[in-house]
């Protein structure tokens, strides 16, 4: 088990990681989700032991490894950039951790071929990495991480620089490959849908803090705070500030949105509600759905779906609708908000009604 205890990392007086505590189990798949500069890489470097935390400690299997050199930890890491040893062949690149560990020739040969087979690199073993395509270079780096058989595998946006098809392929393969080894698998990404596809657990990061950690689906469905909800939404989350009066939320223009039953007991106050773009629709999805008039700003068509950017009061919303829609800018449209799918946050940005769960 990898455990971070109140870890803080400051570089030049700027906090990159602020008071992070996290426990990752063996054999688990963990996604670090956050926008660029949210601290994903910094956190991984602390986990790997490449950097020392400014304060706090890192524990591995019950031992304090805070000051242990990276060479003496059993970790593997793959960067977003394709990092290999350019002067060596692909074979030597993959064999490198085994050579350093002093394994015998036969074992090295067996392991390298197994990893190369797994990542479809066998035909390229005698080439040097710079004579390979980007995808092959990254697979070489992944193969090196596999043969090491490390207890902690850190992948820092490993697929971000690959083309779409390869990304899909590898994303499906990677968790399988590493789950066999029983290692702690950590995967950093900026893309919410990538986290959802990978499953496992997700920790959402924002400005160097972990805003929530738990099973990916529950973090996505029931974010504990607005920051998590916003981090875990692509296209951006639709939000609006409003007041609760009795059994309804009152929107601008007097539209009343019924408060979901489970939240009926919350006091009258100012709240922020948020909902996903696909929960805003042109047709009434449910009898409780409420219609509001919004102004079309622009429509983006992506194949069979349309993103309609709307403005309602001070808020800017995005509606994801099926089919190719053509709206004129400044056209007024009726859109429906489904109260069953709204998330409600109080003035501090904390989810209302959700019980803070113990991080798994």
């Amino acid at each position: 088990m990898l455990e971070l205890r109140n870890v803080t990392k400051a570089v030049g007086g700027v906090d990159h990681i602020r008071d992070v505590s996290l426990q990752l189990e063996h054999g688990s798949l963990n996604v670090l989700l956050g926008p660029t500069l949210s601290g994903k890489t910094s956190l991984m470097r602390l986990m790997a032991g490449l950097d020392r935390p400014t304060s706090g400690s890192v524990w591995f299997d019950g031992k304090d490894v805070t000051g242990v050199r990276v060479q003496d930890r059993n970790v593997a890491m793959v960067y977003q950039q394709f990092i290999n040893y350019p002067a060596m062949t692909v074979y030597e690149n993959i064999a490198s951790p085994l050579r350093v560990a002093g394994e015998d020739k036969a074992k090295i040969d067996r392991e390298v071929h197994r990893a190369a087979e797994l990542l479809k690199l066998t035909p390229y073993l005698n080439r040097t990495p710079l004579n390979l395509s980007g995808g092959q270079q990254q697979r070489t780096a992944l193969a090196r991480a596999i043969v090491k058989n490390a207890r902690l595998v850190l992948l820092d946006e490993p697929l971000a620089n690959l083309d779409y098809k390869l990304r899909e392929e590898l994303r499906a393969e990677l968790p399988k490959i590493f789950s066999e080894t029983g290692a702690i698998f950590v995967y950093a990404t900026t893309e919410p849908h990538e986290a959802l596809l990978l499953g496992g657990n997700t920790a959402t990061l924002s400005e160097g803090r972990i805003t929530q950690f738990g099973p990916t689906i529950s973090v996505f469905r029931k974010p504990l705070n607005l920051t998590t909800a916003r981090t875990f939404a692509d296209p951006p989350l639709n939000m609006i500030a409003l007041d609760k009066e009795g059994t309804d939320f009152v929107l601008e223009g007097g539209v009343r949105l019924p408060v979901p039953q489970e939240l009926a007991g919350i006091p009258d106050a100012n709240y922020t509600i948020a909902f996903q773009p696909h929960h805003l629709s042109l047709h009434k999805p449910h009898k409780q759905a409420v219609s509001v008039k919004a102004k079309v700003l622009v429509t983006e068509i992506t194949g069979s779906e349309s993103f309609v950017h709307l403005s309602f009061a001070d808020a800017r919303w995005v509606m994801l609708a099926h089919g190719v829609l053509s709206f004129e800018p400044d056209e007024m449209v009726d859109v429906y908000i489904d109260p069953r799918h709204i998330m409600v946050f109080d003035g501090h940005g904390n989810a209302v009604g959700a019980k803070p769960r113990k991080a798994a």
């Binding site: 790997a48 490449l50 050199r69 990276v70 060479q71 970790v75 593997a76 890491m77 960067y79 950039q81 990092i83 290999n84 040893y85 350019p86 002067a87 060596m88 490198s96 951790p97 350093v100 560990a101 780096a141 090196r144 090491k148």
Partner: protein, 302 residues
Amino acid sequence: MAEANNTTLRAAQGSGATAVSAQDAALERKMRRRGDESRFWWLVPTLYIIFLMLPIYWLVNMSFKTNQEIIGPITFFPVNPTLKNYAVIFSDPSWYSGYINSIIYVVMNMVISVAVALPAAYAFSRYRFLGDKHLFFWLLTNRMAPPAVFALPFFQLYSAFGLIDTHIAVALAHCLFNVPLAVWILEGFMSGVPKEIDETAYIDGYSFPRFFVKIFMPLIASGIGVAAFFCFMFSWVELLLARTLTTTAAKPISAIMTRTVSASGLDWGVLAAAGVLTIIPGALVIWFVRNYIAKGFALGRV
């Protein structure tokens, strides 16, 4: 009326035709002018190369002549070609020891400079520390001082330590100029290697020395080649410090050449042969590292 119109039309056509032909002529002139240029494109480079090669040609020419011929009327090729001048150099220890001395201290200097510069350049390229940029610049400014400034302190210092007239004395003195240069060249190459490669190696389990030798040095091989080449060049051609710090045992060839006035006057032929032999090692080294240097100019800083 119709006729008049026709004439004007014809006139217009005519003037049009002349205009066209005038244009053609201008184009042709322009093309011819360009043709003239391309016909003599070789002129300037040839003149330049002749200008560059003339002294070398003259030197080689002299080295195959007898002394009588050299001081006699001008001849563009040796009338009685002779290898006697070269024979003198290869048989007389006071001549050939000069080459041996030069090569010894130049190689020593190359090895010391590169060995010292490698860790220094690594530190400059990988770590930020207080005053690193100033220190880096200060290193470079060492190259700007004329060697004459350092001749006196070096002579006094080495006398005190009994280092005068040893190879290591000259090699160390040349380090003053060559280490900063090597650091500067190597830093450029090292900064071109992403830091993640270092970290990946540490994660793989490499210790620092092993990483440096097995992973890092192959990546900056051309940089090491370029740095060694420049150290060689500066040390090989440097005269003042080498002459000041040596008397007999480690006397460099350049010092021997500039002192060769015998009782019978200047031995022109032998001197010319010595000059030719002095050029050869430099030319050889350039030949061997030419690809590295081309790469070096593109990749690193230099």
